[in-house]
Amino acid sequence: MSAKMYRSADRMVAGVCAGLADHLGMRVGTVRAIMAGACFIFGAGLVFYAWLWILVPLAGDDAATGTRRLDDDGNPRLKLFRPAPTGDAGTGGIPPTRHAASRRRGASVGLKEILIGGALVVVAFLLFSARAGVNLNLGTVIPLAVIAAGAVLAWMQLDATRRVGLLNAAKMDTPWSIVRFAAGIVLVAAGVLIIVTGSGSWALVWASVVASLAVLAGVGLVLAPWALKFWRDFQGERAGRIRETQRAEIAAHLHDSVLQTLALIQKRADSPQDVSRLARAQERELRSWIYQDAGQDPGKLVAGIKAVCAEVEDLHGQPVELVTVGDAELGEAMRALVQATREAVLNGVRHGGTAVSVYVEASPSGVDVFVKDRGAGFDPAAVPADRLGVRESVVGRMQRNGGSAEIISSQEGTEVRLHLPALATHSPGPRSGTPTAEETK
């Protein structure tokens, strides 16, 4: 038993009975017998069968056009490094050609069904009027013919616009509303015709109103499956187009980035530093594209720190490992913090000569940045007074913005600790022009 009903692919006529049996958890034979039996009760079985045939999708059709494809391919990053789920083959995935074929078949059957349905509606209408005691004179038959012709025209119109719509996605919504509008006009015109051609007696008007309602119901009946089919086709088309666009985007991106870099690397094969620098930059770029982690927002602290780390990495070809926890808005004081971080990282890369670890922790109470290298270390107090690198651009800058900086150096390496309390990020208050002058003395 399945929750949603599908027409079975393993079928005699249209797979309705098999699908129904599967849906209700009954045996196929029983369902077929009941269906055949019901045909003798005023053809109820036949109508029911036709109705299901039109409305119920073929098994596999839904999977092809629905969300699953989007999930599989909707996420380009999953495709790149993750093998495609092989479960597809096992879970009864039908080859795409089959989907296409069944969809084509569906479309052609739809037109035929509509013509038959329209004819049936007309016949029913005629029978109904005959029974209601209306003489079938020209005055009634002509408007009927007009209705039929109008309906057929509307269907043709729908088919044409649908095709146009399928070809051109952007206009998908408008043809549909045009069709609805046209159908409305046909109905109104038909109703008016009937009322006008009737000679004004109340009995006739009454019969005409009933007839109009019957036509309305008939059109609704015919319209519903058609609309459903239209919608399904539209969904399938859209999924396919999204997939195609994504593939093209990925291809373009790989071409612009990875292939170019690989070509460059081959050219620079004799320079290990260039190669590692190129590879590292490419890796970083590809990562940010695939994973789209935090730090994409250019107005945030993490993005700023990322950018300066990348810049230093490119300049010196040394890896800079960045770990961030939390994020903060990039205010004026934060910008100073980012610049101080840049100096610290630059220093670590230049003098440490090893990989540099950067850790950023942003919490409501403030932001801490730690920059650690594993170089030989140095004595901050022993740095000559004329060397402004650390003293001015790291310590001085932090102090001017209400923060603090600390440099701990030992044989195992150097760590620069920057702290910016939350207060300072809101009001860069305790800042004036004078400290700069004092410190440079």
């Binding site: 495609a84 990562r287 490992e321 961030t324 926890v325 670890s357 850790y359």
Partner: protein, 218 residues
């Protein structure tokens, strides 16, 4: 190390043959590679056949149901007491890191790690400890929050000490440096890290769930 007398037996699972051979060449002499595997099925079979001390496991693998490393760990669930998994990946997205740790891996390192470092990580995992990279420590801090709070449900919060250890690891400190900075022994550092790993694997904490949901890990 006293363990050096007995070689550590490992199985290398990675779908890139070049990476496997590079890794084998990089591993120290006391680490003995028993077998290699390139797919989920091969990996489960190799682990069952050799019952190694440590499995070096790539997070992204072909085969199976497309779940990669997680599926291998799930497939070897019965052996988890003897076999330790060390996850290895080029990816450092939260999704990959946290999901493989929650599946049961004892550590996570990126593939850019040096030969000496990875040998060290293998020894550590074989000894029953956890291996945290700075990035994994960052994810832990992100998930559990960095505020020091009183410990109520032990599984749901990091103690102040564990927070300190995680912070130092995130800053790029080795276990030895962490021990030195906090004036504790390396063993104590290791036990703190193992406790954090256990919390990461077992906690059903509301915030962790939300954190994971935000990153579409669930």
């Amino acid at each position: 190390m006293t363990e050096a007398a007995r070689p550590i037996r490992v199985v290398v699972v990675d779908d890139h043959a070049i990476f496997r051979s590079g890794l084998k060449a990089d591993l120290a002499a006391d680490i003995h590679v028993l077998a290699e595997a390139a797919t989920v099925e091969e990996a489960i079979a190799a682990v069952a056949a050799h019952s190694p001390d440590v499995v070096l496991l790539d997070v992204h693998l072909p085969g199976g149901r497309g779940q990669g490393g997680r599926e291998v760990i799930a497939g070897c669930a019965g052996l988890l007491a003897q076999v330790k998994f060390l996850a290895l990946s080029v990816s450092d997205s939260a999704e990959d890191v946290v999901s493989v740790i929650r599946a049961g891996a004892r550590g996570y390192v990126t593939k850019s790690i040096s030969g000496a470092e990875i040998s060290d990580a293998v020894r550590r995992v074989a000894g029953g400890d956890a291996v945290f990279s700075p990035r994994l420590a960052g994810f832990v801090l992100d998930a559990f929050g960095t505020a020091e709070v009183a410990v109520e449900d032990e599984l749901d919060r990091l103690s102040a000490r564990e927070l300190e250890v995680m912070r130092l690891i995130a800053r790029g400190y080795s276990y030895k440096e962490v021990a030195k900075a906090l004036f504790i022994s390396i063993k104590t550092v290791e036990s703190h890290v193992s406790a954090v790993l256990r919390k990461l694997q077992l906690s059903s904490r509301h915030e962790l769930t939300r954190w994971a949901a935000d990153r579409r890990l669930l």
